[in-house]
Symmetry: C2
Amino acid sequence: MKQIIIAVDAMGGDNAPGAVVRGCLSALRAHDDLAIRLFGRAEAVRPLLEEAGSEKSRIELIDAPDEITMHDEPMLAVRRKTESSMVKALMDVREKRADAVVSAGSTGALFLGGMAYVRVVRGIDRPALAPVLPGLNKPFLLIDSGANADCQPRYLLQFGLMGSVYMNRVLGVKTPDVGLVNIGAEDAKGNRLVKEAYHLMSAQTVYHFAGNCEARDVQFGNFDVVVTDGFTGNVILKYAEGLTSVLFKQMKLAAKSSVRAKLGGLLLKPALSSLREKMNADEYGGAPLIGLEGTVVKAHGSSNDFAFGKAVEQARLMVLRDVTGRIREGLAEISAGEASRV
Amino acid sequence: MKQIIIAVDAMGGDNAPGAVVRGCLSALRAHDDLAIRLFGRAEAVRPLLEEAGSEKSRIELIDAPDEITMHDEPMLAVRRKTESSMVKALMDVREKRADAVVSAGSTGALFLGGMAYVRVVRGIDRPALAPVLPGLNKPFLLIDSGANADCQPRYLLQFGLMGSVYMNRVLGVKTPDVGLVNIGAEDAKGNRLVKEAYHLMSAQTVYHFAGNCEARDVQFGNFDVVVTDGFTGNVILKYAEGLTSVLFKQMKLAAKSSVRAKLGGLLLKPALSSLREKMNADEYGGAPLIGLEGTVVKAHGSSNDFAFGKAVEQARLMVLRDVTGRIREGLAEISAGEASRV
């Protein structure tokens, strides 16, 4: 059995290092083939490892005296804080001591650090941040969800490939339906970026391009992969967070508006809590940074034990199923297709 | 008392001409200063006017033998279907027989027709579609919500002015807070368009620019005007529709998941219905097409009597409060400011 080694940034996220360490231990208990190299301030992290049982033999603590915080300017931090837990974890993958990195720290720093240290797959213009989100019928991958605010049509073509490979290899979707976020279902709609991306995506045959995806259909689950530029993707992601929270808040208020409503709210509470749970994306782990030579997963900044453990398991699966290798093959097929059409 | 004359497209929308005519009659009953010129196929519309009482004297039916449908290519339809109810209503404003147009027909055709026949205010680069939407604490105007898929920073600067004037004059907000949709609250964030628009909006002093508005805060009601390009704005609008509908559907399912939940759902139903009502934007009328020389309001395609009536009342208020005149003044002030800084 090949061992999968994951470098973990113990200091990133709101609940670090406690939730990170506990998440790692639960992932280790779930998978015998997993080993973790944990980067963080030794004096802060070591006591937390006391909880570990037999899985302790598969977790190694490596001291990283510095850390990147949310106040750091990402580009500067990644370049200068070479003794930080995040950069040391990224270097571990670059130097082949680990197969993957998981961090709940600054998204910007992890993205730029991933590009600089783990490096971009040759032929990929831009890696992308691609969380799996809960839909009405099935989960879907939103790519790019915020890494690249300005995009070229070619990037979107590649996002389709990257997302399709992820959903196929990690979530087991046989032939993922890839949609392009647009402001109408007809192919002539949209801004310049989307119109040109539509043509590029239609012309390739490596993944299944299912056409435009109107924003109102993003959540309805007809697409497995939803492609968009990082600005629009981030707007969708954040808007969904805001609107969901507003609706649940309003519902709570509604359930206090009368004695009758109060009783109803009390009776309905368990069912609504499980709905809220269902709309929670933690189940699917963190957001993979797809398009890098190694596996990099961004766990949510507010990850608890469960969410962080899921992100580690997700990184393991990405390595095991060789997502990066399949993206490389797909890129070659797209290029060959382009060449044969010329 | 000055009479306000509104040209109404009787044939546009899913429920035309019935809901349109009934909406017009109710607006006439509510406002003595209102007169309506109704454009549509005489044989279809005349019988509906039988319902009218004394308000009949202020509604005039003008035969328009043709109509623009959702299947028409907007640009071609607007140019060629000069005998359609929509084009005839627009011409009525151009030729000063009416002060405003209201239509529930094709958005694309109304936008292009408005630009061609009613014409753009001198100095405005692009008119915008700007519906008022329900927020958590107060309503907000989303500008542009889909008319201009590709935008320049200057357009966004002007959208801020247009939105601010509308919220001040029509909804009575003293000093509207204008936000710019962005993927972070810091001013250095975003794509090229937004970064440059941020600088232009910060530099003017005619309206109150309150900074970046993260998508998650759009619905929370800290801004009165939310400025964005038409692609992003349309994504927000449509995504909100989709997500709200999914959440309410899921809630219905949750309220069927057990006997306990069923009873709770039954008790909570009136409170949730009034919440659903609160999230309904019909109260604020249709989406004004701001930046044209005359007032143009796009009523929702699915408008019922109530919604269409509200759209007519909204057009009346836009004329009464001289939204267009104030935009002209504001533009002159922005230009004067630019000149004084040169």
